[in-house]
């Protein structure tokens, strides 16, 4: 549900004269029009760019807010007495970035001083950058067409998390952390609540004028257990999905009710025997599998990687363009979508940072690789006519480029449930939560740990084991999938910190899936 009424609470200072607050203030009731002051500032960039000789220009005027609150509970030095250390931080960032095409080349410049004269100056700088670099362009930039949009959009949330008092937040997380810490073998109990809001305005020389407001939440709890005598340390987390949502997602997470389980499982993890390495079947829960999807199928199907634009940093991709429509990357069960429209997804937004209306599209159909993630300046490179709406910049001061949409795995048949997946395993491991993750620069070879591991013996879940990691190759792994649980078990997890690009940018992205089974994967024993 959209909620414009809570904007005043979000601002927290109704009489402010701050530039950011004036520009992003509360709209007239249910208005779909961007703030006129933002539109006036946007027009300055567009006009100045044209005057300086640019053939295209866009400006993003953005304000971000992030709030972190939490507790760290750990023993005092040489004592069993616990110190309870709270932390509370509220961060804001506000500025604009202008992107132009001049002489066929991109140019970009950004500043935190949001005034008409600075916008004009910075726009001229962006044109200078573009023209200077045009001498070394491989080929002129071509933009796929997009419609012109004038719109104002707010992400769905029921209760504004910035409107909830910090007192209430600290009390909630304190209660959960104290529960975690109750056993003396729990050395550190850590919990936090993070909230993020993005106010973004986009205007382009093609006539689009778009204002969007996005609210996201992320709670977390972690217990670290230590056995000093054996010199072993193990942790267990309650990994709540971060999501584009409001305070209601925190309430749903039931942090307090889950804390005793997390504590008990941290202790069980501490005492758990090491895994016996070898080929084993894996049943992976959504809290874990999201990251495997992200690294192996999400990144390998980014067009900029496949075409070599990320060769110097994030890498290229084994999923090269001739494989489109042909390559069998997974078993027939594997259907994967790129989607910036799904409810709660961290990459969900109505328009991307190219001003393109976002969409849902197939990436893998019945195991066959179908489509790349693209933006406007890439579509023509694979003979496509329009962008798939995957453009994003992590700040007003960052250059927009192709970033991952929510990439999710379709659920299996209704009758399949986690127990039926487990019942088909003679010798295997059930993994919950994400742990260590690493994959090569072409997305073939990966190795994942997890947060907790249970042995599966003779079709039944048995006790916990420790020191587990599994190693595989993307197409081997996805082709070994022979069972996916039904829609009732589909859950979305994700990350705020997916890195790519130079200068490096982060991206927030979600990956949904149901529990799934993979046959004969190489399981390792770690230190």
């Amino acid at each position: 549900m959209q909620n414009h009424l809570s904007r005043r609470t979000f601002l927290g200072m109704s009489a402010s004269l701050l530039v950011a607050d004036r520009l992003f203030g509360q709209p007239a009731a249910n208005s779909r029009k961007p703030n006129p002051d933002l539109e006036r500032l946007g027009a300055v960039a567009v006009a100045e760019a044209k005057k300086a000789g640019a053939t295209y220009a866009d400006i993003r005027i953005n304000r971000y807010r992030q709030q972190f609150s939490g507790y760290r509970l750990a023993p005092q030095r040489g004592s069993n007495k616990t110190d309870e250390v709270p932390f509370v931080t509220d961060q804001a960032s506000f500025g604009f970035g202008v992107r132009v095409i001049a002489n066929g080349q991109w140019g970009f410049a950004a500043s935190p001083l949001v005034t008409a004269s600075e916008i004009a100056r910075i726009t001229r700088e962006a044109v200078v950058v573009a023209k200077a670099n045009a001498a070394l362009q491989a080929s002129p930039v071509q933009l796929a067409p997009t419609k012109k949009y004038v719109d104002r959009w707010t992400s769905a949330y029921q209760k504004d998390p910035f409107g909830i008092s910090v007192d209430e937040k600290l009390e909630l997380i304190h209660g959960a952390a104290v529960t975690l810490k109750k056993d003396p073998k729990i050395m550190v109990a850590f919990g936090f609540l993070a909230f993020r809001a993005e106010d973004k305005y986009f205007a382009s020389s093609e006539g689009s004028s778009i204002q969007q407001y996005i609210v996201q939440v992320f709670p977390s709890l972690q217990a670290t257990a230590v056995d000093i005598q054996k010199n072993i340390s193990r942790s267990r987390s309650y990994q709540v999905p971060p999501s584009t949502a409001g305070w209601e997602a925190i309430a749903k997470a039931n942090l307090g009710e889950n804390a005793p389980r997390v504590r008990d499982e941290a202790l069980e993890h501490l005492a758990a025997p090491p895994v016996t390495p070898g080929k084993k079947d894996l049943v992976l829960l959504p809290s874990h599998l999201w990251l495997t999807i992200h690294e192996s199928l999400g990144h390998s199907t980014e067009l900029d990687r496949a075409l070599g634009f990320e060769a110097n940093f994030a890498g290229t991709s084994f999923m090269t363009t001739e494989k489109m429509g042909k390559f069998k990357v997974g078993s027939d069960l594997i259907n994967v979508f790129g989607d910036r429209t799904n409810e709660g997804g961290l990459a969900t937004v109505k328009y991307d940072d190219d001003g393109v209306l976002t969409t849902k599209f197939p990436i893998v159909e019945k195991g066959v690789f179908k489509h790349y993630q693209t933006i406007r300046d890439q579509a023509h490179l694979i003979d496509e006519k329009e962008s798939r709406g995957c453009c994003y910049a992590d700040s007003w001061s960052s250059v927009p480029f192709q970033r991952m949409p929510n990439v999710w795995l379709e659920a299996g048949p209704r009758e399949i449930n986690p127990d039926s997946l487990i019942s088909g395993v003679d010798d295997g491991i059930l993994i919950d939560g994400d742990g260590s993750f690493s994959i090569d620069q072409q997305r073939y070879n990966f190795q994942f740990g997890g947060d907790a591991f249970w042995q599966i013996k003779g079709g039944k879940k048995a006790g916990m084991v420790s020191r587990v990691a599994y190693q595989s190759k993307t197409s081997d792994f996805w082709n070994s999938c022979d069972g996916i649980a039904g829609p009732a078990y589909w859950q979305q997890f994700g990350s705020f910190f997916d890195g790519k690009g130079e200068p490096e940018q982060i991206n927030a992205v979600s990956h949904g899936c149901s529990p799934a089974r993979f046959r004969q994967v190489n399981v390792l024993l770690t230190d």
Binding site: G12, M13, L18, V19, A20, A74, R77, G78, E84, V85, P86, F87, T89, D90, Q91, A92, S93, F94, Q105, G107, F108, A109, A110, S111, P112, A126, V128, V129, A132, N133, L136, S165, D167, L170, M187, V188, V226, I228, N231, I232, S233, F309, E310, A311, N312, G315, F437, S438, I439, D440, Q442, R443, Y444, N445, Q447, P503, N522, L524, T526, D527
Partner: protein, 443 residues
């Protein structure tokens, strides 16, 4: 540029708005310019100014609130202070809060270069051009990134502490790939001054690596190998190691420095005599800021001295409980080298692997510091002191602790840029028994 006078005025203004007993203000200001290139052409580039004012307020009973703003107008600063103070009043007392530090004597560090601070496209494009021309002439495909930044940082508090520092930095990285993507080479340079950067030299190294790897690669079995690890890879391993010298986690059983049954390995000889790992804020190759997060002055400090664990990182609170002098956190990292060249290292190895750099490094076990990662952009078999064949990439599972314990020879140290941890002053090393876990087909 944010001048010292501007910074002092700004901090005084923020502190002037503060009503609580303690207020600390940290200011960062950066102007940077960058060019990114791929497929033998410039792709994106930019010029930008960013700034941030972090305000931390503390009540008499140790309640702390923090706010960060980026607008410099009085309203925004006043609002930031108000927000930090409101949060402090709502928060709970922090039993580990330490009293504000008074005035400190910070080192004067010379790591600002006016040429670099003013450099724009005309100073950077020639380096990119040299690389792209070299790629084209060698039928290679170049990708890379060149960036320079001009930075001012300042800090002040109600107890009359004030610090101000300016620095510049720049880097150039370049990947060369052969047609069809069968081989990849990489090289980089990073310095305080753009005058030290040479695009032609960087392009030459990465092109040589790419060409050397262009013949059919040997697929060696995973297992334990002697490696000659170039400085970029060493920079990552020691950078990750240096983040694990915390006294508290060592004493509380969560670190490689924790001892079975309790206590730490402080004072023990864990490494060979020739391993010395230290912080040196005055090293002109990679000077650090004059202060760290605790605001204590950064200083020369050995973490491992001739193989002995010499210091742990005691923050002010933990030091007060342990009756020790607090130590600044590692600001920069130096692994001392020996007088050898990389060629000497290669010549010393009967059979081993020369590794250009490491990639996607993550912690497998925080306590043992076992890491996982991959090799990237050039692995070569060394036999009887000579490079023979290119080899496919590997995944490795290994601990930097074991790597330093198994190190038997080091080159001269230079500033090198890792893939995960920024740069450090490190040599190339020869280390035995490095654990490669599986083959990676990636190029």
């Amino acid at each position: 540029m944010l001048t010292q006078k501007d910074a002092k005025n700004l901090i005084d203004k923020v502190i002037g708005f503060s009503k609580l007993p303690q207020c600390e203000v940290n200011v960062t200001w950066t102007e940077d310019a960058f060019i990114r290139f791929a497929n033998n052409g410039i792709t994106t580039s930019g010029y930008r100014i960013t700034q941030q004012i972090s305000i931390s307020s503390v009540t008499d009973d140790k309640r702390q609130g923090n706010a960060v703003v980026t607008e410099l107008i009085d309203d925004a600063l006043q609002h930031g202070v108000q927000q930090a103070e409101d949060l402090a009043k709502i928060s709970k007392p922090n039993p580990e809060d330490m009293p504000a530090l008074g005035p400190q004597k910070y080192l004067t560090l010379a790591n600002f270069d006016a040429y670099t601070a003013a450099a724009r496209g005309d100073a950077m494009i020639p380096h990119v051009k040299a690389i792209i021309e070299s790629a084209k002439s060698g039928e290679l495909t170049a990708a890379g990134f060149i960036q320079r930044s001009s930075n001012a940082i300042a800090v002040g508090n109600k107890a009359n502490l004030f610090g101000y520092h300016t620095y510049t930095d720049c880097s150039l990285t370049n990947t060369m790939r052969t047609a069809g993507g069968a081989s990849s080479g990489w090289a980089s340079q990073t310095s305080v001054s753009l005058k030290d950067i040479n695009g032609e030299a960087v392009g030459k190294i990465s092109a040589e690596k790419a060409k050397r790897g262009a013949v059919t690669k040997k697929k060696l079995d995973p297992g334990k190998y002697t490696i000659i690890l170039e400085p970029a890879g060493v920079s990552d391993l020691v950078g990750l190691l240096a983040g694990n010298f915390g006294a508290r986690s060592a004493e509380q059983g969560q670190s490689f420095l924790s001892k079975q049954g309790g206590g730490t390995h402080l004072g023990e000889k864990m490494f060979p005599d020739y391993i010395t790992l230290r912080s040196d804020p005055l090293d002109t190759k990679l000077a650090t800021a004059p202060w760290g997060p605790s605001l204590l002055p950064n200083q020369r400090l050995p973490w491992i001295d001739k193989g002995v664990v010499k210091n742990l990182y005691y923050d002010r609170f933990w030091a007060s409980k342990a009756n020790k002098e607090p130590t600044p956190a590692p600001g920069n990292i130096v692994l001392d080298g020996q007088g050898h060249t990389l060629d000497d290292l290669i010549a010393s190895v009967d059979r081993g692997l020369l590794v250009t750099r490491l990639w996607y490094i993550r912690t497998l076990q925080p306590q043992t510091l076992q890491l996982t990662g991959l090799t990237r952009d050039g692995v070569f078999l060394v036999e009887k002191g000579k490079i023979t064949d290119p080899v496919t990439n590997f995944r490795w599972n290994e601990s930097p602790v074991r790597v330093l314990q198994n190190t038997r020879m080091l080159s001269r140290a230079s500033r090198a840029q890792g893939s995960e941890t920024g740069s450090a002053i490190v040599p190339a090393i020869v280390a035995d028994d490095f654990n490669f876990a599986s083959i990676s087909d990636a190029v």
